[in-house]
C-alpha cells in the first residue's frame, strides 16, 4: 500500500510541472494588463515602464517562468500585485475558510444524498422514489446564485434566524454551506440510488434474501459496502470541485475563502495570486483523487493496491 501511495505521489510531479507551465501561460496570455488595471486610465508612460520593469515584464516569458518556478520551489508564491501582501500567507488564511465551508457543505450533501438515495432505491418505484427523483433533478438545475439569495431572503431577512453574510460564527456558515451542499446532495442521491439498485440485483443479495434476512439488514450489511464505491468516487470528485473554489456561493455570502480570492485576483489580473490558486486547486484535486482511491480499500478490504 505504501509503495502504491509513494508511486502515485511520484507520478504527480510531471503532472504538476505541466500544470505550472500551462497556468503560467494562461495567466500571462489572458487579455488585460494588470498595470493598467491597477493604475487607472490616466498614467504616463514613464511610470508605466518603471512599474513594468519592476514586475519583470520586460524579460521574455521563459525567463519569467524560470523565475516563477524557482520561486515556487522555495515555497514562495510571490507578492500580490493588488494587495502587496504575500500570496502564500493570504492563501493560508483563506484556505481554512474554504475548507470549513467545503466540509460543512459535504456534511449536508452526504446526509441528504445518502438518505434520499438509499431510501429511494429500497422503495423503488414507490411514490417516495418518484418524489426523490423529481426533487433531486429540480435541485440540480437550480442556480446556486438564486438559491443562495432565496435562503438569505427567507432565513436572514424575513425570519432573522441567521446573519445574511460574512463569517466568524457557526451561524454564518449555515446558509452558504446549505446552498453549496444542496446541489451536491442531489448528485450524490442519484448516484447512490442507481448504485444501490445495481447491487440489489446481485446474486449474493438474492442468496441473503433466500436465507430470510431482513431487507434493512441486507442493505446495511451487504449492499452498501459494495454500492458505496462509486459513490465515494463521486463524492471525492465533488469535494475536489467544491474545494477548488465555491466561487458563486462565496460571492453571494461574502465568504472570505479562496473562491472570492480567485474572482478578485482574476479581475485585477493579479498574476501571482492567479497562478498560485490554479496550482493549488490542481494539487488539491490530485490529493483528493489519491485519498479516494485509498478509501476504496477501507470501505471494501477486498480491494488492495500493490
Amino acid at each position: 500500500m505504501s509503495r502504491y501511495i509513494f508511486g502515485r505521489i511520484l507520478g504527480m510531479i510531471p503532472i504538476l510541472v505541466i500544470i505550472s507551465i500551462l497556468s503560467f501561460l494562461f495567466v500571462h496570455l489572458t487579455p488585460g494588463d494588470p498595470i493598467r488595471i491597477m493604475y487607472g486610465a490616466e498614467m504616463d508612460m514613464a511610470t508605466y515602464e518603471k512599474v513594468k520593469a519592476n514586475l519583470g515584464f520586460h524579460d521574455p516569458l521563459y525567463v519569467q517562468y524560470g523565475r516563477y518556478l524557482q520561486q515556487i520551489l522555495s515555497g514562495d508564491f510571490g507578492v500580490s500585485y493588488k494587495t502587496k501582501t504575500n500570496v502564500s500567507d493570504e492563501i493560508g488564511k483563506r484556505f481554512l475558510y474554504t475548507l470549513g465551508l467545503t466540509f460543512a457543505a459535504m456534511f449536508w450533501a452526504l446526509i441528504i444524498g445518502l438518505v434520499v438515495g438509499i431510501y429511494s432505491a429500497a422503495r423503488r418505484k414507490s411514490i417516495w422514489d418518484r418524489i426523490g427523483i423529481i426533487s433531486t433533478t429540480t435541485i440540480i438545475s437550480i442556480p446556486e446564485f438564486w438559491f443562495g439569495l432565496m435562503l438569505m431572503q427567507m432565513f436572514a431577512v424575513q425570519l432573522g434566524w441567521f446573519p445574511t453574510s460574512g463569517s466568524g460564527t457557526f451561524a454564518h456558515l449555515l446558509l452558504p454551506s446549505i446552498t453549496l451542499g444542496f446541489g451536491v446532495s442531489a448528485i450524490i442521491a442519484r448516484f447512490t440510488r442507481s448504485s444501490v439498485l445495481e447491487v440489489l440485483q446481485e446474486d449474493f443479495v438474492r442468496t441473503a434474501k433466500a436465507k430470510g434476512q431482513r431487507e434493512s439488514v441486507i442493505i446495511w450489511t451487504h449492499v452498501l459496502r459494495n454500492a458505496l464505491i462509486p459513490v465515494i468516487t463521486m463524492t471525492g470528485l465533488q469535494f475536489g470541485f467544491l474545494l477548488g473554489g465555491a466561487v458563486v456561493v462565496e460571492q453571494v455570502f461574502a465568504w472570505p475563502g479562496l473562491g472570492s480570492y480567485l474572482i478578485d485576483s482574476v479581475l485585477a489580473r493579479d498574476y501571482p495570486a492567479m497562478q498560485a490558486l490554479i496550482l493549488l486547486f490542481s494539487v488539491q484535486f490530485l490529493i483528493v483523487n489519491l485519498l479516494v482511491d485509498i478509501s476504496y480499500s477501507l470501505v471494501n478490504p477486498q480491494i488492495r493496491y500493490e
Binding site: 487579455p31 445574511t164 461574502a254 472570505p256
Partner: protein, 536 residues
C-alpha cells in the same frame, strides 16, 4: 422531503413577488431624494452617542490600497477620507476650503501656490506635521522611479520649496490655474514622515497597508476580504470636530443584493453604490434613507474618429440626435441620472450647460444622408460585461437601429476592454465612463479630448484631435484670473459638444442608503464622508 418541496414553493413565490416589486416602478422618475446627508441640519450630538458605537459600511469592492498615492478607485476613497487629510479639501458644494493649511495663495501668473500650514498638528504615530512633511511627501509621489499610481496626477509640479517650517510653495512646470483643485483632491493627502522614511529605507515596506495620516480616525486592522477597521484618534487636532464613533468597519460585499439585504436587517449601517433597482424599495422602508444626487461621472459612447465613417462631424452629431437619453436613463438607471448637456458633469467646476442634442430621429437621418450614409452603416460597440453597461449597450443598439446604424454589441470584462482600447486596433464604438475626480474642468476634458492624450495608456481612445480644443484647454490652464479660465472652458465645452467626438449620454446619480439612526453622513462629490457621522 415535504418540507423541502414546500421550501421551494415558498422560494419561488417570494422570487416572483420580489421581481414584481422591483420592476413595477421602472420607467417612472425616481422618488425625490432625501436631503443630502451632508447638508443635514447640525444636531447637537447626544452625550451618550459620543464614541459609543461602531458604524458598519458595506462597500462594493475591497480597497485596493490604503495609500492615497497608490489608489485611483473611488471605492477606496471612502475609507481614506476618514484617516487622511490634505492641505485643502472640497466642501459639500464643491468649493475649495483649507484644512491642514490655514490659507493658500495662487501667484498672479498661476505658476506657484503658497500655503501657510496649521500648527500643532500630529499624525496618528505622534510625529508632527510641517512643511518638511509636505515637501517629502510630494517629492516622493511625483518621482516616477517610485512607481506610484498617482505619479502622473502630480506631474504638474516642478518644485516644492520649504519657505519656513510652516510655509511651503508648490511651483508648477507652466502656468496652471487648476493646481488649486489638484491640491484639494483626496490623493493630495499627507502621511507621516516616519512611515515614508521606512519606505525610503526599505523599498519593500508596504505603505499600502500602513496608513498613518492626521484624520479623526486611525487605522486599526485590514483583514483581507473581510474588513478594514478604523478607530477614533484621540489626538485629533480639531477639537471641535472629533470622531463621534468608536470605530468604523468597512466591509467589501461584491454582491449588490447581499449589500441590500445586510442593510435591511441592520447588519450594516450604510451601503455605498446602491443598485438603482433597489433604491425605490429601500426608500419606502421606514428605517432607511436613500440619498441620490448627481455624480462626477459621465457615461458616453466613444467613437474611433480615425475611421472614415466617424470622420464626418455630421455622422457624429446624427448619432447624438438618434439617442433618446431620457428613455435610456429611465430604462437602464431607473431614472437615477441626468441627460448630458456638456462633456462635463454639472458638479464639475467650470461646467456650463450647452446646446445638447435633443432626441430627433428625423434630424439624425437627415444628417446621415447629407454625410453620404442614407442607409446607415454597420458598427461594433464594445462594452464592459457588467449588467449596467450591457443594458446601456443594448439600448444604444436598439436606438441606433432606428436610423439605420446596425450595431453589434461585444461585451468584455473591464480589463480586456482597457487593453483593446490601449492597443487601438479594431476600435469602433465603445462605452466609457469618466469620473472627474478633481471636480474641475481641466481633468474633465484634457484626458479625454486633448491631442496628446491618445493611447496607449491614456483615455482619448477615440483618437480625437482638435487644435482649437487643445489651445482652449491650454489657455484656460494658463489663465491667471478665474473668469478668463471660465470663458475658455465654456468655449471648449461648446466646441467639443458641437464636434461630438462622443455620444454624450448621461451623468449617473450617486445612490447611497443608510439606516435612519445614522446622522451627519456627508457625500462630497462621490465620496461618502464619515468624519462627522454618528449613531443615535
Amino acid at each position: 422531503m415535504r418540507r423541502r418541496v414546500s421550501l421551494l414553493t415558498v422560494s419561488f413565490l417570494m422570487a416572483t413577488a420580489m421581481l414584481s416589486a422591483c420592476t413595477s416602478n421602472s420607467g417612472q422618475p425616481p422618488p425625490t431624494s432625501g436631503p443630502a446627508p451632508g447638508n443635514a441640519q447640525q444636531q447637537e450630538v447626544p452625550a451618550k452617542a459620543v464614541r459609543n458605537a461602531e458604524l458598519i459600511v458595506a462597500l462594493e469592492a475591497e480597497a485596493t490600497s490604503l495609500d492615497p498615492w497608490n489608489s485611483t478607485d473611488s471605492n477606496t476613497l471612502h475609507i481614506l477620507s476618514t484617516m487622511f487629510e490634505g492641505l485643502l479639501t472640497l466642501d459639500e458644494n464643491g468649493e475649495v476650503v483649507p484644512i491642514l493649511a490655514t490659507d493658500y495663495k495662487l501667484s498672479a501668473d498661476a505658476t506657484s501656490l503658497t500655503f501657510h500650514l496649521r500648527k500643532g498638528i500630529f499624525f496618528h504615530d505622534g510625529s508632527p506635521f510641517d512643511a518638511e512633511v509636505v515637501k517629502k511627501n510630494l517629492d516622493y509621489v511625483r518621482n516616477k522611479e517610485n512607481g506610484m499610481a498617482r505619479a502622473s496626477f502630480f506631474g504638474f509640479i516642478k518644485e516644492v520649496t520649504v519657505v519656513d517650517p510652516y510655509t511651503i510653495t508648490v511651483t508648477a512646470n507652466e502656468p496652471n490655474s487648476a493646481m488649486v483643485a489638484y491640491m484639494a483632491h483626496p490623493s493630495a493627502s499627507f502621511k507621516s514622515l516616519k512611515e515614508l522614511q521606512k519606505k525610503i529605507d526599505d523599498p519593500k515596506y508596504n505603505l499600502d497597508r500602513n496608513p498613518v495620516g492626521t484624520g479623526p480616525y486611525q487605522f486599526l486592522e485590514w483583514k483581507n476580504g473581510q474588513f478594514v477597521k478604523v478607530v477614533a484618534f484621540d489626538g485629533y487636532w480639531d477639537k471641535e470636530k472629533p470622531a463621534k464613533l468608536a470605530a468604523i468597519l468597512f466591509k467589501p460585499v461584491t454582491e449588490a443584493s447581499t449589500r441590500v439585504n445586510m442593510l435591511k436587517v441592520g447588519e450594516v449601517d450604510i451601503v455605498t453604490s446602491l443598485p438603482t433597482l433597489d433604491a425605490r424599495t429601500i426608500g419606502k422602508d421606514a428605517n432607511l434613507d436613500v440619498y441620490s444626487g448627481p455624480s462626477l461621472n459621465m457615461i458616453y459612447v466613444g467613437m474611433n474618429t480615425k475611421l472614415d465613417k466617424y470622420k464626418d462631424k455630421r455622422v457624429r452629431q446624427a448619432m447624438n440626435y438618434a439617442i433618446n437619453k431620457e428613455q435610456l436613463i429611465s430604462q437602464v438607471a431607473d431614472g437615477y441620472g441626468t441627460a448630458a448637456d456638456s462633456p462635463l458633469s454639472p458638479l464639475v467646476k467650470g461646467y456650463a450647460k450647452q446646446q445638447g442634442y435633443p432626441y430627433n430621429v428625423d434630424k439624425a437621418k437627415q444628417l446621415l444622408t447629407e454625410a453620404g450614409y442614407p442607409d446607415g452603416f454597420a458598427a461594433t460597440l464594445w462594452t464592459r460585461n457588467s449588467t449596467e453597461f450591457v443594458a446601456i449597450a443594448e439600448n444604444i443598439k436598439m436606438q441606433l437601429q432606428a436610423v439605420g446604424i446596425k450595431v453589434e454589441v461585444q461585451a468584455y470584462e473591464s480589463g480586456t476592454i482597457f487593453e483593446r482600447l490601449d492597443a487601438g486596433e479594431g476600435t469602433d464604438l465603445y462605452i466609457g465612463r469618466w469620473g472627474t475626480g478633481t471636480a474641475e474642468a481641466d481633468w474633465g476634458m484634457r484626458p479625454n479630448f486633448a491631442s496628446d492624450r491618445i493611447p496607449p495608456n491614456y483615455n482619448n481612445s477615440g483618437y480625437y484631435q482638435n487644435q482649437q480644443v487643445d489651445q482652449l484647454l491650454n489657455e484656460a490652464l494658463k489663465a491667471t484670473d478665474n473668469s478668463m479660465a471660465q470663458k475658455k472652458y465654456i468655449e471648449a465645452q461648446k466646441v467639443i459638444m458641437d464636434e461630438a467626438p462622443w455620444i454624450f449620454l448621461y451623468v449617473p446619480d450617486v445612490v447611497i442608503a443608510k439606516r435612519k439612526n445614522v446622522l451627519d453622513v456627508g457625500v462630497t462629490l462621490d465620496t461618502v464622508r464619515l468624519q462627522a457621522a454618528y449613531k443615535q
